[in-house]
Symmetry: C2
């Protein structure tokens, strides 16, 4: 027996005074209840608890459940009318699992219900033979749209766009447009989107000539021509444009939707802001993960897949750590003579690595945000070198004093101070120039910057400190 | 003499076949031309080059120019009708400079032209006495709206929302609504937004009872009641909700706008997706910067301000590096006996630091994305420990073999291998539990996680390797 208690409404319309962080807290409570019901095998109760949830929340829940519990919940969701949206909201790794669980027949049913952009996102992740099976099982008109989208490069505007667009010819009036839209509500053959933010005025050859925000259309008197109220200076997106550039334009122009055109300049689709929000997330997450030495967010990935994807980065790192050790081994004599040098050795390298990471983080993000261009690149490098120099002097004094008093050896203090200035300057130079250089080469600065950087700050840190010690203290 | 050449149109409508990365490339060319004209003191040419640009691009340009060039361009922009939008798009640091340059009278003119949410963003950054001066110089109705918004906490929905909202009473029909909107176009006293995505149906006490997407309104016949087509299950935002939670809800629900209510449940404003896109960026940038040990994106900050803000983080780091050195000094005897130990010592610590950073990055982002909850926390920790253990064994073998052959000492190989397993396991545990623990304490996991983490992996790395060496090799 399902128990539709008051608790079920927690996710909806519950602002209430003093409500600190409603979204998260309610999730935790509800999730606990659902997991308890799953553990108890009380399917009716699970169904009752899940039923009132928004599809995006059901997707989150599926992501967090164990594979066994997920299977049970999918069984319950079997004929839920929200299933297409739920599948569409899932994280890629979990979606693969869910698709295996549902079987290709259900996947075809899911794809059929979605708008073309969301449908493509699901189909593009399938194996080739699975794609064929799914596409064969859906109506020809939908299939053609999806197949066309799949013909565009991955991560391009063509994959991102929705094929359903509202277009009007140049000679229509506002009244004609509104009448057309009202009459088309139940016309399945027209394939109009369920919701839209702009309508596009097109030429007889289907080239976009202007865009009209829906709210403006609504506020204009019926006899006015659409061409009179359209925005002729719209930002047109070529179908092959990378999604990262699409996101940049949306953010820059505060757009809610933008027309996408093919090589011939004909309107073929529309990119909407909700998809762009997802792209922004995707791209930034990618940068964060890469800066942290992770290929991609692997939270939901299986243990062995995660282990393997982390291995390659750590392997590169083992190489650079061995290089650093080889540099140290050049100064074996110094280390044998003065043990204090071995003890203090990691400090200079570590400070250089941290200062360099600060600089590199700012530089990598400035490049990603297109804030760093030829106009200001030299100025930014100059500033970072200066920052490195000033902080180098400050930390030279601090570490020099520590070394001097700790080992009662002023020479040791002077050596660590000199090495610190050198390494912090190098950190400032390397932290800016490495990402700039990688960007110039067409590589992603976020992927490889930090491994180059720490190699340099380690090698310079050890070499400067041990080398100066060999010269002045032996 | 202004030179309106064909080049000026580059930013607009230029998809064209094979157009790889139009946004960035064109910027660079145009920026070069503008900087050249500025260097040559050719004001007319600068004006001609800037005039056709979109306001967001002008803002980007101002950010990248030197302060002197910026002053010249601001002089040219003096009476540009886009000035309010340009100022509103600027990075905070640069905006402070620009506001000083323009003077408070111009700032008041700028604020007067903006919609309430953008106006608040500018006013909230001013000093208190400047705020008063600016607010005194704008009309009472605008002033009241801005003052009300300023009364809400920083980074809350109240600051983010736009006060201009389209509301209709419950008894209106679609036709009445459209007529009202058409007639209100030129009515300044109504303070309706220029563009909107949803209209809100409100009760007589101004409580929101439903939302209607504009496109749906447009497609419905005139006699239909608004209550029949409204979405009663809308997501209502309390005015005090943190902007990060607002962004989460928008992303989760694919919203374009959402009603904001006060403590009494009355509709006071609307948050729109363009502001949310900015919040998403702001919040994610904050996380990236903090993970990189930078307080905030300081690209446009002056050198001394940057130096100082980086100093504090480096200072903490010096402390942890000294702690690591103190751990090393405990094993002075071992280092004196076997110099190979000093040479290999950084490898174990470095591998632990990198493995831990991988784990920490995934954990910190999962927390920020609300993907990590009580339901799956233990499973995630368990998985990361397993990943650390497996990679620990793999890298134990690799580093053990390297050490064995390099120093022709199998004992040394065994010692580094054992230390590696220990430190990689610790890295997996620390990388997950530190962010989880900080989150539980109510601290931002992105700020402090990495300093705790590297302290632990350094200390454990050095202690395990040197300790095992002392036990087995002396």
């Amino acid at each position: 027996m399902s128990e539709p208690s008051e608790n079920l409404d927690v996710e909806r319309n519950d602002p209430g005074p003093g409500d600190g962080d409603p979204v998260r807290d309610l999730h935790v409570e509800l999730e606990d209840l659902i997991v308890q019901a799953l553990d108890a095998g009380d399917i009716d109760r699970v169904e009752g608890l899940i039923e009132p949830l928004h599809y995006a929340d059901v997707a989150d829940l599926l992501e967090r459940l164990t594979p066994d519990d997920r299977h049970v919940v999918l069984g319950i969701l079997g004929d839920d009318e929200d299933l297409p949206e739920i599948v569409s909201e899932l994280d890629e790794t979990v979606r693969d699992d869910v698709i295996d669980d549902l079987g290709l027949a259900s996947v075809a049913a899911v794809v059929r219900e979605l708008e073309s952009d969301d449908a493509v996102q699901i189909v593009e992740e399938l194996e080739e033979h699975e794609q064929k099976q799914v596409l064969d099982a859906i109506p020809v008109s939908d299939r053609t749209l999806i197949e066309e989208s799949l013909s565009f490069p991955e991560d391009s505007a063509g994959r991102l766009m929705q094929r359903e667009v509202v277009t009007v010819p140049e000679f229509w009036s506002v009244g004609q447009t509104i009448d057309f839209l009202r009459e088309s509500v139940d016309d399945e053959t027209l394939d109009l989107p369920e919701m839209f933010y702009d309508i596009f005025v097109v030429s007889p050859t289907h080239m976009p000539v202007g865009t009209i925000p829906v709210s403006r259309l609504l506020r204009t008197k019926r006899p006015v021509k659409t061409t009179e109220i359209m925005e002729p200076e719209m930002r047109i997106i070529p179908v092959t444009m990378d999604q990262e550039d699409v996101a940049f334009i949306f953010r820059q122009r505060d757009l809610t939707s933008a027309p996408v055109v093919d090589d011939g300049g004909r309107l073929v689709g529309v990119v909407t802001v909700d998809d762009v929000v997802d792209v922004i997330h995707e791209e930034v997450e990618e940068d964060i993960m890469r800066l942290g030495g992770v290929r991609e967010d692997d939270l939901y990935e299986a243990t062995m897949a995660t282990t393997w994807s982390r291995f390659s980065w750590l392997f590169v790192n083992l190489g650079t750590a061995i290089v650093a050790s080889m540099v140290i081994s050049l100064f074996e004599g110094t280390l044998e003579e003065i043990v204090a040098v071995a003890i203090l050795m990691p400090i200079v390298a570590s400070m250089g690595g941290n200062a360099g990471t600060q600089t590199m983080t700012v530089t990598v993000r400035a490049l990603a945000m297109k804030e760093l261009s030829a106009t200001n690149a030299m100025r930014v490098v100059g500033k970072e070198v200066l920052v490195g120099g000033i902080n180098g002097v400050l930390f030279a004094i601090l570490s020099g004093v520590v070394a001097w008093f700790w080992f009662e050896n002023i020479g040791l203090g002077l050596v660590i101070a000199m090495a610190m200035v050198v390494n912090m300057l190098v950190a400032g130079i390397a932290g800016t120039t490495i990402p700039l250089f990688l960007e110039r080469l067409g590589a992603d600065p976020a992927v490889a910057s930090s491994v180059f950087l720490t190699t340099i700050t380690d090698v310079v840190g050890f070499a400067a400190f041990l080398g100066l010690a060999a010269v002045f203290l032996l």
